[in-house]
Structures are given as structure tokens and as C-alpha cells.
Amino acid sequence: MKFFRSHVLVSVDPECVAQGAHQIVDALNDELVAQGLIDEIQVLETSRLGDPNRFGPDLVVYPENVHYANLTVDDVPFLVEEHFLKGRIIEKFRAKETVVTDDELGAPKSKEVRIVLRNCGKIDPHNIEEYIAEDGYQALANALTASTPEKVIDEMMRSGLRGRGGAGFPAARKWQLCRQVPDNPKYLTCNADEGDPGAFMNRRVLESDPHSVVEGMIIAAYAIGASMGYIYCRAEYPIAVANLNIAIEQAREFGFLGNNIFGSDFSFDLEVRMGAGAFVCGEETALIASIEGKRGEPRPRPPFPAVKGVWGKPTNNNNVETYAVVPQILLNGAEWYASMGTEKSKGTKTFAIAGDVVNTGLIEVPFGLSLREVIFDVGGGIKDGKQFKAIQTGGPMGGCLVAEHLDLPLDYEALTAAGSMMGSGGLIIMDDETCMVDIARFFMEFTQEESCGKCTPCRVGTRRILDILEKICEGKGTLADIDRLELLCEEVMKNSLCGLGQGAPNPVVSTLKHFREEYIAHVVEKRCPAKVCKALISYKIEPACTGCMVCARNCPVEAIAGERRQLHVIDDKTCIRCGICVQVCNFNAVSVLS
């Protein structure tokens, strides 16, 4: 065992890589060689360290636990000479933030419970031994040497784990169904095609703790009797793909993948398949088609993948988070897992919270927390002291929930009953300056673009819904348009082939339900109450104007006229409603009218 007196952890998450983290690593290694320190100091790559808002790559030096940030390649020789050779901590490079944890997500916020994310930022994802030190592959060893597939399924059944991809089907039930199909070989797929805008829970797990997914898949394969597995990961996650491939290679070397794992007669291997970024490939039948090299389009079910999946053989498909939690359930027992959450939704769930909330980012909380607790306790409340208006759960195919739902417990049934869904765990929080018609249009634009075009209701229906929404946002809508919108949504949901089309109208339906008056304001009064839709607003300069000319100078279309120290005027015809005058005015003299 090689002893290093010091370890340097460099964060290589996508943001840091974009800012040159790899060049820093190379420069560090070169400089350590030049100074003859390479045998004493080890440079390790790890996921994110500390503050997500800081600039430039950062690193932490152990054992001193010194956090440096904003480094450039040119700083490296000085750093190595001063700190690593002479042992002087360089204050000017030190990170400004006061709390430095060895956790990329920061210390758990109140009410957070981290099971899936427990290793993120704590271990080196490139080093299988670090995962083993955190009890990695222990659950697999126990299952293979002292248990049976039936017992594993039974344990999972009692844990109450439900698929984290969105639909919430009990994971063990799915495994059992696939196991019972009298056809061989069987396959395993992992859905790592996280496509919801603003959601990156799976990316973090794949990048920071890939072995947990690999181990979970091996255990699932053992329980089901599968001999080959595919991790379908989107190509937009290059670091996740790289880390997965390293993890798989290491697992093979250690004998966790391959033939006769742990001396048993169970053999299993894994491969990563990259998706080309089609949102619909998150749908399991489309995902399977894509793995087979075919066009990524869904097909009608049944037959379900459990009967006919990859290469026409029985296939079990689960989400990244579902697999990642399996080893923890087996290690700590079904009762431990089932003790968290609500009656029907057990355990914890990761969420990506985004939008107008103070603490945006990743969280992991037990099911059953109220939306209020998630937004105000974990999320830190609404930004800039504004008011909460709505929360979109379940990604672009989910629905929005409003203030009256704030005390709703976060679980599969409650969200569905309220007209939204759990989905993969994207939460978008909106403040009172959000136009709900515009939000519906935004989500529709996304799903319309991602419709694969195979079935007519989705291909044509989403286009027509978007047309109507655009018309309303432009102030050309009529009351009849709202009725047509409702009818169209119903038909698209009823007749589409897969979850994409069935879910796509959800944002429209839910905003119509809760914010119908906003739609009516748009079509009848030609007014956008939130002052967002450009065609329905205008800008006016109030008497508070001092005539400083800043707005006139910044206006990109020269729509503002006025002499120095005189009240300025905006020419409404020339104005393009870009809002720059509002931003630059130092006297709050520009108001938005609707």
C-alpha cells in the first residue's frame, strides 16, 4: 500500500471541467514531478466541492483541509512550491466561503435524509476501493453467498421501493414479473436518459457514485436471472458515461462482473449505451428500441418489456435512482427503508429544485414531507421576498400545483390526486411574477419539439395546442380558443401512444384549472396580469424620471426620446419590450403596464 502524505482533491464536475479543471490536474501532476513530490502527494479527481456559484476550478488539500478556489494553470507552480514543498498555506487562493465540507451538496439541509446521494462528493468516483470502504459491494456479496433470488425479491418487496422513473410501480413486483417469464436469456436496462429540463439528480449519482448503480444492477440481475445489462445514458452526460465505464471496468477487474461472480454460478456483464438526446427515449419501449440500434420510438404495450424487451427477450427496466438505492436496502434491511416515507411511498426521493427559490439544487427528502416544507424549509423560501404562486412537479409532463396544495404530502398518490405527478423529481417553483399561460406555452414548446412523430395525436395535437397558446400569448386568442384547448388536451391525453403524448397536455390542463382567470384576461381584456407576454404589455416612463438619459442610451432600438433633465418618453411602436430600460433605470421610473 502506497502512503501519500497529502492528497489533493480537484473537482471535475462539468462546470469545473468547462473552466479548465483537467488542465489544473495535468499542471499539478507536471509540477509535482518537477519538484520531486510525486511520490508523496496524490492528486485525485472528485466531484463538486463547496459552493456551486464560485468561479473556476477548486481543490481541497488533505490532511490540512485547505480549500483553494479560482485557480488558473499559471498559479499551479507557485501553489506547489509554497504549499506542497514548503508547507505554507496561500491565503490569497483560499476559497471565500466559510464552510468547507467534503460534500459537494453542502451539509444536509434540515429535513433532508441522504441515502441515494450519501456518497456524492465524499468518495472518488474513479476508485472502486473508496466505494468498498463505504460498504460497497457488501450487499452483493451477502446476496450471492448467503441468500437466494427469491429472498432478495422478498426483501425488496417488503421495503416498498417504487420505481423512481416516475410511474412509481413497485420495483420488486416488476422484478418478479420478469423473473417468472419462462424465456431466456433475460436482460436488464437502466434508464439514465434523464431528459427533464432542469433535472439532474441522476447525473449527480452517475458521476459521483457510479458503483452504487452498478452494484444495484448486479443485485437486480441476480434476483431476476438476467445475464446482460445495458445502461442507457444520454450523450449530454459525457462525465457520467466516462465514470460509468471506469466503474464497470473496475468491477470486472474485481470480479463483480463477469463469470461466476463471488464463486457462484451467477454470471452477468454490463455495457453503457449512449443516447443521442431524444427525450422520448426515456420511455421504456423507445429506450429498448434505441439500445437495439433502431429508431428511438415507442411501441404499444402489451407486450410489456418484462415479456418482450431487448432483442425480444424478457427485460427489466429501472431508473438510476431505483438501482442505486438497492444495495442500501439490502444492507440495512427492508424495515429500515420502509420506516421512512408514507404508507404507500416508502423511503426517500431526490429532487432537483429550480426556479424562484433561494436554495436551488439537489435535495433528498423522505416521502411525506409537505410541499411547504420542501419549498420553505429545504428550499429556503421564495427569492427576493416575493410571493409563492405555483410549483410544477413531475417535469414538463407534470402539472402545476398552487398555494392550496402547499400542505399536500409529497408522495405518488397525493400528487396524482391533485392533478400532477411525481415524475422523476423535477420541481420548478414559480413566484407571483410568472405568467401561467406563458409557462404552459414554454412546456408545450418543449414536448412538441420532443414528440417523436410516430402517432398522430401527439405529433399533430401538441403542435395545435402550442399554436393556440402562442395565439393567446400574442393577444389574438378568443374565448372559443380556450374551449378548443381543453378539448384538444383531452383527446391528446386519451389517444397518444406513449407517456410523452399522454402527459404533454398536463401543464395546460393544470394551469387552466387553477389559473383560468389568467387565460381569460389574455383573451378578453388582452392583458397579461403577470406582465410577461410581450404583445400585451407596454412600458411607460413615470414622472420620477430625472432625465439622466441612461435608458435612452441603452435602448437597442432608440425608442426613448427626451432632453437632459426632461421627462423621457417611450415610443410604443418602436419599443420591442426588451425591458432593458427597467433594468438600467436608477430611479425606478420605468413601469410596465398591461
Binding site: M1, K2, F3, F4, R5, S6, H7, D39, E40, Y62, P63, E64, N65, L85, K86, G87, R88, E129, E130, I132, A133, D135, Y137, Q138, A141, N142, T145, A146, E253, F254, G255, F256, F262, G263
Partner: protein
């Protein structure tokens, strides 16, 4: 490469991995601090430091942190090494050659007896 065939194999790798991990975390039981200012380096502190690392590696020791620091201000005594074991008072050694480093490791860190010959008395500090 290890081919893990049993629970025992995995346990062994795990124990080894935990040892490696613990080296990285601060707060180890034994702290060795080597003065690496210009006089220290000139007097051979790098060899001393390397010897400590070497000893830890060959003896398979854990729970020890080796750190370097700047100049202690005791130029004539360089290389200067401070050793702190557990809750005991910190001990400062002077003229720590690799040979003395061996002694410190065996007698003080492992044996619990301070190496008096190289001790820098409190009044000098």
C-alpha cells in the same frame, strides 16, 4: 488485480480501503510536522520527511498524519520535527536526520518513550 471470490476477500479489501481513506482525513492520532523552511530544506528536511513516509508505508501504519510547515525559527537545530501523539503534549525534536527519524518512530510514536537525545528543551523554544 484482486479477484473477489468470497465475503472474506471483500472484507480484506474493505479494511485496506478504509485505512487508505483515513489517511486523507484530518484528526489522526499521531501528527508529525516537519519544518520545511529554507533552512530546514538546506539541512536535509526533505530526506527526513521522506524517511517518515517510508516508515509509515513499510510498517503499514495508520492514523498518522505527516505535514510540513514553514520555519520554526530554530535554524541551528534544523531539521526540526514536531511530534504529537494523542492527547500528550507536543514534543519538538532538533537535528532530525533520517536515522533519528527511525528512532522517533520506533521509540516515541510506537514505543511511547520520548527520544531525549534530540529533544529541544522548552526554554530554547
Amino acid at each position: 488485480m484482486p479477484n473477489v471470490k468470497s465475503l472474506e476477500d471483500l472484507k480484506k479489501i474493505r479494511d485496506e480501503a478504509i485505512k487508505k481513506r483515513d489517511i486523507k482525513t484530518p484528526g489522526a492520532r499521531v501528527q508529525i510536522v516537519v519544518g520545511m523552511g529554507t533552512p530546514g530544506i538546506a539541512a536535509g528536511a526533505r530526506d527526513t520527511l521522506k524517511e517518515f513516509l517510508n516508515l509509515i508505508e513499510t510498517k503499514g501504519l495508520t492514523d498518522i498524519v505527516v505535514r510540513q510547515t514553514g520555519n520554526f525559527g530554530l535554524d541551528s537545530m534544523e531539521p526540526v520535527v514536531k511530534v504529537k501523539v494523542g492527547d500528550e503534549a507536543e514534543v519538538t525534536y532538533g537535528k532530525v536526520t533520517p536515522f533519528v527519524a527511525d528512532q522517533i518512530m520506533d521509540e516515541h510514536i510506537l514505543g511511547g518513550k520520548v527520544v531525549t537525545a534530540n529533544l529541544i528543551p522548552a526554554e530554547v523554544k
